[in-house]
Assembly symmetry: C2
Homo-oligomer: 318 residues x 2
């Protein structure tokens, strides 16, 4: 029998598991709740128990696996296999994840951060079409990313490569939680889109459902903004989408000018706005790239959704 | 005897050669004029003759070489070892450089573009300190660059990775020869610095030697601007340097935020302005980077000068 890969996507509410073939086909998947009580001390033991339980359920042995790969929040030491500062897991002190999981499962273990792992997933089995040079950008609560070049993840000297959310798109822009100004995240994350909407609403005078809702003090989401723009042709919402996609196109343009990947993949919750979002990012991307990049680097939507994590994690083990 | 590397830096006026040890020490160097007559058809034969002549002069045989590496202007097909569109060499049609040089010297041959090769040189034996992740930026007639990550040059899907000169630093900026607006090259190349000086001079009213010279219709160079700023404390010149280093710091900042290299190396003619330039770029770099990058990515001046090309070219052959 061919050997298998085991991918784990560790998140703040669930831990997702999948057993994959070497060619990336998911054969089994399951998930458990993430128990973040007691400083997150149950998480690794729960993962070990769940793996061993499912291996016995499927009549499989550790020898049948090439390895386990895992994506995690927080700051990862890839060599040591440790994690620190994953606040949504209550992991504030150094966690010996690799050591414990290898001891508990007898399977070789590799770990990287969740955005990098999702990038590997989309590159391998998703929109990246397994090309050697693929950039992944995730627009969610924050903006994150991962960069694969020459077929390998980039980490940089302190593990910050791919932190696309903190690219400066407006030197005079909003303050970011990172301490500097004008980060892509301040305008293109889910909260960023709403921030841009509030800013533009202040100086907007015409008729707009979005303006009325904001003035009424209603809670507005990024999804509302995109829906009002696409379905209601709301003037203010369209202005917000234009401004957000301008910044995304500028950031993607400079990623293109710098790295010339075959594809920049857009994922995360905000990307649910789909082709309406993608086509507008692409228009600005073309404005901000020089001809050879404009013609060779594509802007695509992510294709794997929630499964990017486990698939990319599994590929770490290859 | 240990095997040697042969590096070639092909330019529009001279071809530089060097024989290096595997550890990067230059043992012999020489150069010849570049004969660009007859559509550049003498260039490759001249290179072959010069190599064979010097090998016999030094009593060396092809077997003593690991390989030859070469940096060239124009558009390079690395796999095929061909070059096209090197206009300063009069190479407008496809040149079979690898095939001809391997046949003429009996030594394995590798080729890449000149900015990438200079990046390899500075990374290996210069300011990059042989770290795995180093970005090189050259400020000359144009602005070029090369990116080494995980110890390997990045090329991208169409060979445009590292084209740092066309990063957009001002969406409303000057038009660039590439067809888009606000490229770093339009403000930070030698001509870009002068362009910024002319722009700021138009709205400048106070006393300034630079202003007086520009108003007199004198030819001003980038070197003049930096000298007036550093030595004469010229008010307008200082404003120009501030604006140029703002854009350079923004571009370096976003390279840092995206790639987190250990070092961004600044070379090329404009970098002769030295620490006066570097420290100002660094100040803006720190403004435009998030804390972990600010603390881990350094801004340094190039150290190898003209030799970056032959040294980097030689390293291609390793």
């Amino acid at each position: 029998m061919d050997k298998k890969l085991l991918g784990i996507d560790l998140g703040g509410t669930t831990v997702k598991f999948a057993i994959l073939t070497e060619s990336g086909e998911i054969q089994q998947k399951w998930s458990i709740e993430t128990n973040i009580l007691d400083d997150g001390s149950h998480i690794v033991p729960d993962i070990i128990d769940s793996i061993n339980h499912h291996l016995s359920l499927y009549n499989m042995t550790p020898e049948q696996f090439i390895g386990i790969g895992m994506g995690t929040p927080g700051s990862v030491d890839i060599e040591a296999g440790t994690v620190i500062g994953a606040y949504n897991l209550n992991w504030t002190t150094l966690q010996q994840v690799k050591k414990e999981i290898e001891a508990g499962t007898k399977i070789k273990f590799t770990i990287d951060n969740d955005a990098n792992v999702a990038a590997l997933g989309e590159r391998w089995m998703g929109a990246g079409e397994n090309e050697p040079d693929v950039v992944f950008m995730t627009l969610g609560t924050g903006v994150g990313g991962g960069i694969v070049m020459n077929g390998e993840l980039l980490h940089g000297v302190a593990g910050c490569a791919g932190e696309i959310g903190h690219v400066t798109v407006d030197p005079n822009g909003f303050e970011c939680t990172c301490g500097k100004r004008g980060c892509l995240e301040t305008v293109a994350s889910a909260t960023g889109v709403v921030r841009v909407a509030r800013q533009l609403a202040e100086e907007y005078a015409g008729g707009s459902i979005l303006k009325a809702r904001l003035d009424n003090g209603e809670d507005i989401t990024s999804k509302d903004v995109f829906e009002l723009a696409e379905k209601e042709n709301d003037d203010l919402a369209l202005m917000v989408v234009d401004k957000v996609t301008f910044y995304l196109g500028l950031a993607c343009g400079n990623l293109g000018n710098t790295l010339n990947p075959s594809t920049i993949v857009i994922g995360g919750g905000v990307s649910a706005a789909g082709e309406f979002l993608r086509s507008r990012i692409e228009t600005y991307f073309k404005e901000f790239t020089f001809p050879q990049v404009r013609e060779s680097t594509k802007i695509k939507l992510a294709e794997l959704g929630n499964e990017a994590g486990v698939i990319g994690a599994a590929s770490l083990a290859k």
